[in-house]
C-alpha cells in the first residue's frame, strides 16, 4: 500500500495551495487556493490533471480547506461551480463564516477596480458555501466508511486548522499554515502525538529563526508612532481578517497607553463586519483573550473608525488599514499611489508579499519608483517598514512539530525553493526522516502502514497478561520477557489469521497433542551410606541452585522439580531409563524426566548431578 501526494499548487512556491493525497484509494484535496501574483491561467491549480473527463465527484472523496486566506480557498467557487465538483467540502466554523466575505471582497477588487473578466460570481460564492460542512476542533468525522478526518488548532488566523486524515491503518497530517507561538489574539498550534506515515507541512519561513516577538512589536509601534507624531500618514495594507485584528489590538492598546488621539481607520466595512465575527467565534481565539472576554471584548476597538474615500486627501496624521494586502490591487494600492510620494508618510507591510505584487517590489529593495499594473509610475519617497512578526511558524517551529509528530515521511510545500532545500537537508540529517520537496505537478509516493489483523484467543491474552521472565547468562545476565512467544499465529488460506496459545494449536488443527520429553535415570550417590534420602534431595537442590541461575526448585521427600524437570528417587531394580553401564554400579538413582522446552536446563541439572556423583565416588575411593 502506498500514499501518493500529488502537488497541484504551492509546490516550491507560495500561493494557490492545493495538495491532493491518495491514501488507500481515497483521494482528499487539501486546500483549493489561487495565486495572488498571477493574472493568467496559472492563477488556479491545474484541475484538469485530476480528471480529463471533468468528472471530479468520482475522483475526489472530499475537499478540506484549512483557512480562509485566498491562497487556500480562492479557487473553491471556481472548482465547485465552474468545474462542477459536487462532493463534500469541510471547513472549520470560522472558515465557513469568513471565507465568503474574503471571496466576495476579492471578487469585487478583481472585477470592479481592475476591470478583469469575472471568474466567479456572487451567486457562485453563495452556492459554493452551501455545500460546505462546518466542523469543530478535534471533532472526528467519518467521511465515508473508511475515511476519517479530524481538525486540530493551527493558530495562524482565526479558524485555521491542521487536518488529520486516516484511511485504514494509514494516516497523514496536512498542516495548512500554522504558528507555533501565541500571538495577540490567537493561540499556538496544538496537535496530539499521532502515528503518521506522512506529514505535509508549510515552510514559508524555512530558514528564518525568530527570537522573541516583543522587540519586533515595539519596532512596529515606534515606526507608526514616529510617523504620526511627525504629521505623516501611515498606511497598513493588509487583508481584512487576521493580521488586521492583531495589529489593531496592538495599536489600540498602544494608543490607550500613550494617550494618542490620532485616528485609526479601517478602509472597508468588511473589517468591521469581521470584528463582529471575531466576537462570536471567541472560542477560537487564545486562552488569554477568552478569559478577558467575559469582562471586556477585546475586539471592541476604542480608537478605530470607518474610513471614507474623501479622507485620502484630508490633512493631518492618521493610520489606515486598507485592503487588500500585498498592495496587489484595489483600495490599498489607490491610497498608496497618493501617499507614497510624501517622505512624511509610512507604509508598513505586514507579513509575506507574493512575487509580482507591489508589496514584494517594495520589500525586495529600496525602489525610488514603482510600476503600477496599468503602466503608471509612482515615486516612492515614503518610509517603508516591514513588520517583522508573522503568523507563520519559523524554521524552529517546523522542526519542533516534525520532531514531535515523528512521521515516517515529510513533504514540504508553501515555501521558496532554496530555503526549502536547506530545511529538507536539516530534517533528513537531524531527524533522520525522509523529506521531499515536490514541484507543482509532481507526485511523491511513500509506503503506508498496514497491520495484519488476527483474532486472538482468550487463553493467549490471559497468558500475555502475566509476565513470563526468562533469565539467561551466556555472557552476562539477561532478563527477557517472552510472554508473546507462547503465542502462535496460525494462517489458513482464505481465512482470517488466528492467534492462539501454544497448547491450543493442536486443537485448532484437529490433532492430538504429542508430548516429546527427555528421560534419564541418573545415578546420584553410591549405595550403602545410611544417609537419609531427604538429605540427599536437599543436597542436590543446593548444588543445583548454585550452578543453575534463576532456578526455582520445589522439593519434597523423594523428588525435586525445576520447571518441567522432574526427578524422583528410583527404587526399581531395573529402570528403562537407566543406562546399562554406570561408573558406580551400586548406586542410588534419580529418575529424571523433562520436556523439550527445558532442554538445556535438564542437561545442566544432569551435569550437576553427575559431577556430584563423581565427587562422592572420589571421596569414597579416597576413604577406601
Amino acid at each position: 500500500m502506498a500514499i501518493d501526494c500529488f502537488v497541484l499548487g504551492a509546490g516550491q512556491e507560495i500561493g494557490k495551495s492545493c495538495v491532493v493525497v491518495t491514501i488507500n484509494g481515497k483521494r482528499i484535496m487539501f486546500d483549493c487556493g489561487m495565486h495572488m501574483g498571477c493574472d493568467d491561467h496559472n492563477r488556479y491549480p491545474d484541475f484538469s490533471l485530476l480528471s480529463k473527463s471533468g468528472d471530479f465527484d468520482n475522483v475526489i472523496s472530499c475537499i478540506i480547506v484549512t483557512h480562509f486566506h485566498m491562497d487556500h480557498v480562492g479557487a473553491l467557487p471556481y472548482f465547485t461551480e465552474v468545474c462542477g465538483y459536487n462532493g463534500p467540502i469541510y471547513m472549520s466554523y470560522p472558515t465557513k463564516a469568513l471565507s465568503p466575505l474574503m471571496l466576495e471582497d476579492y471578487r469585487r477588487v478583481m472585477v470592479d477596480r481592475r476591470g478583469e473578466e469575472e471568474l466567479f460570481t456572487t451567486t457562485h460564492i453563495t452556492n459554493c458555501m452551501k455545500k460546505v460542512i462546518a466542523i469543530d476542533l478535534k471533532q472526528t468525522i467519518q467521511v465515508d466508511e473508511d475515511l476519517q478526518i479530524r481538525a486540530y488548532y493551527a493558530g495562524h488566523v482565526l479558524g485555521a486548522v491542521m487536518v488529520y486524515a486516516k484511511v485504514g491503518d494509514a494516516a497523514i497530517v496536512y498542516t495548512g499554515d500554522y504558528n507555533m507561538t501565541t500571538d495577540r489574539h490567537l493561540g499556538a498550534a496544538k496537535i496530539d502525538r499521532l502515528q503518521l506515515d506522512l506529514l505535509i507541512s508549510e515552510s514559508t519561513y524555512a530558514t528564518t529563526i525568530r527570537g522573541s516577538k516583543y522587540p519586533r512589536e515595539r519596532e512596529f509601534l515606534q515606526a507608526v508612532h514616529k510617523c504620526v507624531a511627525g504629521g505623516g500618514k501611515a498606511l497598513i495594507p493588509s487583508f481584512a481578517l487576521g493580521r488586521a485584528q492583531e495589529l489593531c489590538m496592538l495599536l489600540d492598546d498602544y494608543w490607550e497607553r500613550m494617550n494618542i488621539k490620532v485616528p485609526i481607520y479601517f478602509s472597508s466595512g468588511l473589517t468591521i463586519q469581521a470584528n463582529m465575527y471575531y466576537k462570536m467565534l471567541i472560542s477560537w481565539t487564545s486562552q488569554n483573550v477568552k478569559e478577558k472576554h467575559n469582562t471586556h471584548n477585546p475586539f471592541d476597538f476604542k480608537n478605530v473608525k470607518d474610513f471614507d474615500r474623501s479622507l485620502i486627501h484630508a490633512p493631518g496624521p492618521c493610520v489606515l488599514f486598507a485592503t487588500p494586502g500585498m498592495l496587489c490591487a484595489g483600495f490599498s494600492l489607490e491610497v498608496f499611489k497618493h501617499w507614497a510620494p510624501s517622505p512624511l508618510n509610512l507604509v508598513a507591510l505586514p507579513g509575506y508579499s507574493v512575487a509580482g505584487t507591489v508589496g514584494h517590489k517594495l520589500m525586495a529593495g529600496k525602489p525610488t519608483t514603482v510600476d503600477l499594473y496599468n503602466g503608471t509610475k509612482v515615486d516612492v519617497r515614503c518610509k517603508i517598514h516591514q513588520v517583522a512578526f508573522s503568523p507563520h511558524t519559523d524554521a524552529k517551529g517546523i522542526m519542533d512539530l516534525t520532531k514531535f509528530l515523528s512521521p515516517k515521511n515529510v513533504v514540504l510545500v508553501h515555501g521558496e525553493k532554496p530555503s526549502m532545500m536547506i530545511l529538507k537537508d536539516k530534517i533528513t540529517s537531524e531527524l533522520d526522516i525522509p523529506c521531499f520537496v515536490p514541484a507543482n505537478g509532481e507526485t511523491v509516493s511513500v509506503a503506508s502502514t498496514t497491520f495484519v489483523k488476527a483474532n486472538a484467543s482468550d487463553m493467549f491474552l490471559k497468558s500475555c497478561s502475566n509476565p513470563n521472565l526468562k533469565f539467561s547468562n551466556s555472557t552476562q545476565l539477561r532478563v527477557t520477557d517472552q510472554r508473546t512467544s507462547d503465542g502462535v499465529l496460525v494462517i489458513e488460506k482464505s481465512k482470517k489469521a488466528k492467534i492462539v496459545y501454544q497448547d491450543e494449536v493442536s486443537e485448532l488443527l484437529h490433532e492430538k497433542n504429542h508430548v516429546v520429553s527427555l528421560a534419564y535415570c541418573c545415578p546420584v550417590k553410591a549405595k550403602g551410606e545410611s544417609d537419609n534420602d531427604v538429605d540427599l534431595i536437599k543436597q542436590l537442590s543446593a548444588k543445583i541452585l548454585k550452578t543453575v541461575s534463576g532456578a526455582q526448585i520445589h522439593e519434597s521427600e523423594d523428588c525435586l522439580q525445576v520447571g518441567s524437570f522432574k526427578g524422583s528417587l528410583c527404587l526399581k531394580e531395573k529402570c528403562m531409563h537407566r543406562p546399562e553401564i554406570s561408573s558406580c554400579s551400586e548406586a542410588v538413582f534419580l529418575c529424571c524426566n523433562w520436556s523439550v522446552a527445558d532442554l538445556e536446563l535438564g542437561w545442566e541439572i544432569i551435569n550437576v548431578m553427575k559431577l556430584n556423583l563423581d565427587n562422592t565416588c572420589k571421596v569414597k575411593g579416597d576413604l577406601l
Partner: protein
Amino acid sequence: MELTCLSKGDGFHYPPCHMLNLCGFRILIDCPLDLSAIKIFSPVPYDVGFEASEYPSSDVSLDAQDPVQKKQKLERQLTPADLVCAEPWYKTVKALHLWEASLIDVVLISNPMGLLGLPFLTQNPGFCAKIYMTEATAKIGQFMMEDLVSMHKEFRCFYGPGDSSYPGWIKDLDSEEVPALLKKVVFGESGDDLGSWMRLYSLDDIESCMKKVQVVKFAEEVCYNGTLIIKALSSGLDIGACNWLINGPNGSLSYLSNSILVSLHARNFDINGLKGTDVMVYSDFSCLQSAEVTENGCISPNTDNNYLSTISSDNKDEDLAASLLNTEDSLEEMEKLAFVCSCAAESADAGGSTLITITRVGIVLQLLELMSDYIESSSLKVPIFVISSVAEELLAYTKTIPEWLCDQRQEELILGEPSFDHLKFNKDKKIHLFPAIHSPNLITSWQEPCIVFAPHCSLRLGPSVQLLQRWRGDPKSLLVLEDGISSGLALLPFRPVAMKVLQCSFLSGIRLQKLPTLLSVLQPKIVLVPDAVSQRIDLSGMKINSILSFSENETLHVPRIADNTSVEITTDLASKLSWRKLRQRENFGIARLKGGLLMEDGKHRLVTGLEQEESSGKARPLRYWGTVAQEPLLGALLKMGIKGSIEHSTSENGLENSIIHIANPSSGLIETSEMCTAIVAEDKNVASQILQGIDEVLDGI
C-alpha cells in the same frame, strides 16, 4: 461487562446515575443532585407579616393520586409549619455512597444536570478518576452550580453559620408527629436515605472539582488508558448534552441518556454515530414521567410494528431514520412554548405579571426568543427581566457555540445573524439582565406588569421566592412552573395562592412509541433497557440478539459478544516471523510470535519489541502433535548416522508402546506411544540428534 443502576432519577432535573464495569474499568455515568428534595425546607421568610398559622390547613390539597399522600390525608394535613426551618441540605444519589470513590476510574457527565453532585464526589481525598464531559456541559454546569451556591447564600445569611457536622433538623424529624410525606423524602422508602444528605459545597469546591475535569469537544475521540476510546455525541436534550460511545478491545458500547430526536434549539440526536454497537445501554427513564403511560398501562407498539413489517429493514434504513426525525414532536413542543407565551401576554394585558421559574437552558432561550418576538409584533409594552447570578454570562456563552446549535440556527450564526432572535432584542435594552433581585439598577428599570425569568424551579431558592411572595395574592398574575415537581408541596409555603398557575411539561426524553423504530435503526446486538421500559413496551419482535432489562440497585452481567479479540500485527514484525509449513496441510502456515503486545487506541497491537536472543537462530519446537511414525524416524536417524532397532511392547497400563533401541554411537532408546515420546540417552549430543529426527517426522511449533 456489568451495569449497575444507582438511581433511576426523576425527570430532566435529576438524570439517572449508573455504574459500568467495562474492561476492568469502573465508569460512573452522571452524578446528579435530587433538587426536588429541598422542598421539605421552608424558604427564607422575606415577608415579616408572613406566618404559617394565618393559613388554615384545609386549603392544602395535595395530589390525590399518590396513595401515600392519601393515607396522610387521613392522619393530618401538611401545613407550612411542618416544613423544616433550617439551612437546607442536599440529597445526593444514595447508592453512590456505597462505592469506594477511589476505585472509580472514569466519570462521564452527559449533561449539565448530571454535574451538580460531582463536587461532593471530588471532595473525597481518595478520588482520582478521570472526568470527561463536553465543553458546553462543563461551562453550563459550572454556571448552574455557582448559581446554586449564590442562591443558597441567602439561607446561610439567615440562619448563620451552623454546625457543619450534623444537621440538627434531622433529629426533629424523627418524631411521631412528623407527616409521613416529609419522612419519606428525608429517610427514603426504606428508611436508609439519611446518609445521602449533604451540606452544600462552596465555590472553592466547585473550582477544585472543575480543575479535575477534562473537557471534550463535540464528537472528539479521547482515549482512556490506551484501552477505551470515548466519544461524546449530541443527544439533542439541551446544549452540551450528549450520549456516549465507548470503543474498547472487547467491542463497542453506546450509552443513551435522555435524548430528544429533533431539537428546536440544540444539535439533533446523532443517530449515525451510534449505529451497530455491540451493547447499547438505554437509560432513558423519561417514560416514567409521561402521562400517556400511566393511563393505559402498557403501550402496544402495534402501529410501529406494522410499519416495520411493511418495509424490509435492510434497504429502507434511511426511511426509518427519517421517520424518527419527523418534526411532529418538535411541533408539539413549539405549541407548548407558544401557549406559555400567549398566557403571559394575556396576563400582561390584564395588568398582571408573569413569573417563569423554568431553569432548563434550552427552554429559557426559546421562551425568551418567542416572548421578544411576540412583544415586538404586538402593541404590548412589557419589559422582560432575567434575574439570575449567571444570566449574563450564560446568555453570552450561548452566542459562542455554533457547534451545539441546530442546523438552522447554526446557519444564521454563520451568516452573521444572531442565532436567537432575542439577541437582537437584547441590544435594544428590552430584555434586562440582573444578577440578583437587589441589584442596584433593577429598581430603576423595574416596571410592572412584567415578565420575569427567575430560578429556582423548586420555589425554595433564588429570586423566584421573593417574587412569588409579592405576587401570590394577585389573581391577574401568572406563575409558570415546570411539571414533574409536585406542585402541592412546592406551593405549600405560599398558600393561599390567588395567582394563576401554569404547569407545563416539556419533552425530556425519547417517546416510548419511538423506541422500536430507534432500535431497528441503531441495530445494537444487545440492548439493555430499564425494567420500567420493558414492562411498558413489548420489544420481543425486534431483530436484536438479546434484550436485557435492569432495575435500580441491581447489577446486571452482560455476556461478551465477540468470541475472539482482534490483534493487529505490524507488517515489519509479521515479516520477521519464522513460518513453518505443515505436513499434509498445504493451506496452513504457522509461526511462533515475537515482539511485545501493547494496548494502543483501544486495540491490542503486536509490535517489534526488544528483540530477544536474535542470534539463537531458528528456535526449536516446544509443542508437538500427531503420532511418530517409526520407520521414517529410523530412516531419518540413519541419515545422521544413528542406528536403531524397533521393539514392540505393552506397558503396565495396557497402552501400545514401541521402543527403538539405539546402540550406535552411544546407547539410548526412544520410547514412543500414541500420545508421547520419551528420549532416553546419556549423551546430550545423541539426544539432540534424535530430537532433530523427531522434528522431521512430527509437526510441531
